[in-house]
C-alpha cells in the first residue's frame, strides 16, 4: 500500500509538475516580470516596498528573486516540482482513503476537486496577486488560505461520500463557512500595477492551475489503478 501511494504520487507529481512549470514559464512568469517593473518603478527596490505587517517589514529581509534567466527558471522548476508532488501526495492519500476503484477519468474528477479546494476556494477571498499589489497582513492571509483549503477539502469529501444527510449538510457548511467569515481585507486602489496586468494574471493562473489539476488528477487515477493490479 505504501509503495502504491508513493509510486503514484511521485510519478503523477513529477510529470504534472513539469507541465505546470512549462505553463508557468510561458504564461505567468512574463506577467510577474512585467509587474516587477512597476513594483520597482514605485521606488520599491530590494528592501523598500509596501508591507501591511510592520513586524515583517522591520525584520531584515529582501524580496529579490534570482535574476531572470536560467537560475530563476531552475528555482521555479524546483518549486513547481515540490508543490506538484506535495499536491499529488494529498490527492493520492484521499484516493487511497476512499478505497474504491479509480481510473484516469475518475481521477480527473478528483483533480477538479483538488482545484476547487486549493485554488478556487482560496482565490474567491484572496485573488492571485502580482508582485507590487497591495494586500493585507501576510500571516492572516496565509492562515485564511490554509483554513479555507482544508475546510473545502473536508467539506467536499463529506458532501460527496457520506451516506448521512446530516454529514452531507455539514460538508456544504464547511465549504461555505470561510466565505461567511471572510478573507483578510485590504485597501483597494493603492497599487502601481496596471489593472489590465492584474486581470490577465488572475485569468492566466486560473486556467493554468485548472489544467494542472486535470493532468495531476488524470495521472493519479491512471497510476493508482495501474500499480494496484501489479
Amino acid at each position: 500500500m505504501v509503495g502504491r501511494i508513493v509510486l503514484t504520487a511521485v510519478l503523477a507529481g513529477l510529470v504534472s509538475g513539469v507541465f505546470l512549470w512549462s505553463a508557468h514559464m510561458v504564461k505567468t512568469t512574463p506577467l510577474i516580470l512585467a509587474a516587477e517593473v512597476y513594483e520597482k518603478g514605485a521606488g520599491a527596490t530590494g528592501t523598500d516596498h509596501p508591507h501591511a505587517d510592520k513586524t515583517e517589514a522591520a525584520r531584515p529581509h529582501t524580496h529579490a528573486p534570482p535574476a531572470a534567466g536560467f537560475e530563476r527558471a531552475a528555482y521555479t522548476l524546483l518549486a513547481d516540482l515540490v508543490s506538484a508532488v506535495g499536491f499529488a501526495f494529498l490527492l493520492t492519500a484521499a484516493v487511497s482513503l476512499k478505497a474504491t476503484p479509480i481510473d484516469w477519468r475518475l481521477g480527473i474528477l478528483w483533480g477538479l476537486s483538488g482545484y476547487a479546494a486549493f485554488f478556487l476556494a482560496p482565490s474567491l477571498g484572496l485573488p492571485p496577486e502580482l508582485p507590487g499589489m497591495q494586500a493585507a497582513e501576510l500571516g492572516a492571509r496565509q492562515t485564511w488560505w490554509l483554513a479555507t483549503a482544508v475546510a473545502t477539502a473536508i467539506g467536499l469529501g463529506l458532501a460527496a461520500f457520506s451516506p448521512r444527510r446530516v454529514a452531507q449538510a455539514l460538508g456544504v457548511g464547511l465549504v461555505v463557512l470561510p466565505h461567511v467569515i471572510g478573507a483578510p481585507a485590504h485597501e483597494v486602489g493603492q497599487s502601481n500595477v496596471p489593472a489590465e496586468l492584474a486581470a490577465q494574471f488572475v485569468i492566466t493562473t486560473s486556467v493554468v492551475s485548472g489544467l494542472f489539476w486535470i493532468v495531476l488528477g488524470g495521472l493519479t487515477g491512471y497510476f493508482y489503478n495501474r500499480f494496484g493490479n501489479s
Binding site: 528555482y75 484572496l126 488560505w145 492551475s209
Partner: protein
C-alpha cells in the same frame, strides 16, 4: 482480500476487516503528512531563501506571497 471468505467465521472476518482498514489508513495519513510538509515548505515557509526561490511559483499558484 481473500476470495474464500465463506470459510471464515464472523470474528475472523471482522478482525480481517479491522486489519485491512488500519493498513489502509496508516499509509494514507503518512502521505497526507508528507504532502503537507512539501506544500508548507514550497508555499508558506517564511525563510527568505525559500521565499526567493519559490517566488514565481508561489505567485502563480495563488499562495499568499508577500
Amino acid at each position: 482480500m481473500p476470495t474464500d471468505t465463506k470459510y471464515l467465521d464472523e470474528k475472523t472476518l471482522n478482525d480481517h476487516v479491522l486489519v485491512t482498514t488500519a493498513s489502509r489508513v496508516g499509509p494514507a495519513l503518512l502521505a497526507l503528512l508528507f504532502g503537507s510538509f512539501l506544500l508548507l515548505g514550497a508555499g508558506f515557509a517564511g525563510s527568505a531563501t525559500l521565499h526567493n526561490a519559490a517566488h514565481d511559483g508561489r505567485h502563480a499558484l495563488s499562495f499568499p506571497c508577500h
